[in-house]
Amino acid sequence: MKVVLKLYATLQNYLPPGTQGTAAEVEIPAGTTIEDLFKAYNVPLDQVKIIMVNGRHTDLDYEIQEGDQVAGFPAIAGG
């Protein structure tokens, strides 16, 4: 199934090669968790601080659904 993977700031480098910007459509088997997906792209899990699916916070063990927008961020803050 197809889902959208978004990686920002220092994690941007782990998007599939050739990605323009911060998001890429990727193909994954059913039953994939966010942890599986991030590992598949070598995203260093210890650097992932904020995870959102469709704009809501979630965790690594979330099982991804068709069409989900999965976003990962490192520690980010400001004002």
């Binding site: 700031a9 911060t22 904020i50 704009g55 976003a71 520690a75 980010i76 803050a77 400001g78």
Partner: protein, 579 residues
């Protein structure tokens, strides 16, 4: 020995006073707010002779405490009618503190329309007629003052907007490059300075870190511990220096809380083009003077500031930070970073608060005065109308609340007359509690609930639910009042929230400097007292619980994409200050 410098603009007289005992352990926001509470009649006209403009470096400013170069500016606000404290970085606070000036109080009012420059140096204080410096934008003014008084002098100034006493006018302080842009922007403090006939304050000294410390060994150790907390936390050591505060654009957009086109949606399709990642890319591509990881004041180890270059690598604007790229970007439907940076530069030059300006432009766009997304027209409005203080320029200059009334717009995102910053409270409910209840009017810095609501710093409270938001906001408002008093940049809060050793090291620095024996609880009590003082001023000025509310549309118009409204109950809002 530190002193209070009192400047009477009615008689052009300056006097140094001993610091009364009750002010000895106050600084920054605690001191500006206490002085205003003690000396300004709460019902006075903010632009009249009875209001006072108070500048105060923080308790630790001018020492080697890291990231402690903040300058608090306070007065009764012409925008909100409440007490106001707004603080800024730049190079001036440390110079004032190093000259032994604990507070600078500007009072009275000249009987003519002439502007003056106040020059403070190691030799004393001098009043100089502004002459043809009056009317200048802050960039040219800064260059001329450096040419006359020496490079590296501190310059506090107002632009044409402050001279015209507009509600949007901020007070600028310069950075190490001499440019304006470090603004005590909020609440129209520039208009108060204009009403005093003061175009600029020059602080002429090479001293930066010359504030005496009672126990230098103890201080050094505590400062080292605190520095370690800042340089090991991932936010203050990595993301802020690499991407600046604008790294938030994509996060807040993803969370569905980035106010877009005058708070009509929580997502902006052009967000990525206006964020910190895009800025870092532009700095790299264009090179020249472009830079991320810039420190706005000496001794800042976080360095969240940036210098955005134009196509030729010259300085376009420094900094463009999160609030500004949002206010002048997403909120106006503008996704062109060059337009945003140009608008930001114009704000710095004319002397405008970027948040209030962007929100007011959004309201005008809603009213059809210009189209959403029309950067060039927005640039023209600021450069022609506001700079010249034409009638339309004055409507913009009066802020979103008044502009909304003039044009009959009901979607006006203000609290106590002050525009909301870059987080929609329908999708970040904790920040809504802060907007509603802080004594400052809608202000994110007063209690940054976004940290726990969205950024997972200092725990997690679901941003879309009403539960837990009041406690979150209360604790943060207290802690922030303390941070603003110490003179630390607010961005130290992230390590403060996550690292339990950080706050004790701040308290240790205070103890080492002043010879006190404070505990962490004593410091927290100081934060509470600041809020009590400010609330008492506002109550005497006529503010009640009915003013501690968000605008009606936030309770009735659901915000996309989460389709939520602000639903923290009024009676819960009224418990924020139960301490």
């Amino acid at each position: 020995m530190s002193r209070i410098l009192r400047v009477d603009m009615s008689s052009s007289r300056a006097t140094f006073e001993e610091v009364p005992g009750k002010y000895r352990l106050l600084g920054g926001r605690a001191l500006t707010s206490q002085l205003i509470k003690d000396e300004v009649p709460p019902t006075c006209d903010p632009l009249g002779k009875n209001n006072k403009l108070v500048f105060a470096p923080g308790l630790l400013t001018g020492t080697h405490a890291p990231s402690s170069g903040r300058l608090s500016v306070g007065a009764k606000s012409p925008l909100t009618g409440t007490i106001k404290e707004s603080n800024a970085g730049g190079i001036t606070a440390q110079k004032l503190a190093s000259l032994g000036i604990k507070a600078l109080v500007i009072e009275g009012q000249p009987s003519n329309d002439e502007f003056q420059i106040l020059v403070i140096s190691e030799d004393g204080v001098e009043f100089v007629p502004a002459g043809d410096l009056a009317g200048l934008g802050c960039y040219e003014l800064g260059r001329k003052l450096w040419a006359k008084y020496g490079e590296q002098c501190g310059v506090i100034s107002i632009g044409p907007a402050g001279e015209a006493r507009m509600n949007l006018a901020g007070v600028s302080t310069n950075d190490r490059e001499g440019d304006p842009g470090r603004y005590a922007g909020r609440g129209g403090l520039g208009a108060v300075m204009g009403s005093k006939g003061l175009k600029a304050i020059v602080v002429k000294t090479d001293k930066v870190f010359d504030v005496p410390v009672q126990d230098p060994e103890k201080f050094k150790k505590a400062a080292r511990d605190f520095t370690e907390a800042l340089t090991t936390h991932p936010v203050t050591s990595q993301t802020l220096p690499t991407y600046g505060t604008a790294a938030l654009v994509n996060v807040i957009n993803e969370a569905g809380a980035l106010p877009t086109r005058n708070f009509s949606s929580g997502r902006f399709e052009g967000a990525a083009k206006t964020g910190g990642e895009a800025m870092a890319e532009i700095c790299q591509q264009r090179g020249g003077k472009g830079k991320m990881g810039h420190a706005c004041s000496p001794g800042c180890v976080i360095r969240c500031s940036n210098i955005i270059p134009d196509e030729n690598g010259d300085v376009l604007c420094a900094p463009v930070e999160y609030e500004s790229t949002w206010a002048l970007g997403a909120n106006c439907g503008i996704d062109n970073l060059d337009h945003i940076a140009t608008l930001n530069r114009l704000c710095n030059d004319i002397g405008l608060d970027t948040i209030e300006t962007g929100v007011t432009l959004g309201v005008l766009m809603e009213a059809g005065v210009l189209d959403f997304g029309d950067g060039p027209k927005a640039i023209e409005l600021l450069d022609k109308e506001v700079r010249q203080a034409t009638p339309l320029g004055r409507i913009i200059g009066s802020g979103a609340a008044i502009a909304g009334k003039v044009f009959g717009v009901t979607r006006v995102p203000t609290v106590k007359g002050q525009s909301m910053p870059a987080y929609d409270p329908r999708a970040v409910k904790g920040i809504g509690v802060t907007y509603a209840t802080t004594p400052m009017g809608a202000d994110h810095t007063a209690g940054y609930s976004v940290a726990s609501n969205v950024l997972r710093v200092g725990g997690y409270v679901d941003p879309l639910k009403p539960e837990g938001q009041v406690d979150l906001s209360r604790n943060l408002q207290i802690a922030t009042a303390l941070v603003d008093t110490v003179g630390l940049c607010l961005f130290v809060s992230f390590p403060l929230l996550d690292n339990e050793k950080a706050l004790p090291s701040v308290v240790e620095m205070i103890n080492a400097q002043f010879g006190t024996n404070w505990t962490v609880d004593d410091a927290i009590e100081l934060g509470k007292n600041v809020l009590r003082t400010e609330r008492a001023f506002n109550a005497a000025a006529g503010f009640t619980a009915a003013d501690d509310r968000l605008p009606e549309f936030m309770k009735t118009e659901p915000l996309a994409p989460h389709n939520t409204v602000f639903d923290v109950k009024d009676e819960d809002l009224d418990t924020v200050f139960n301490f």
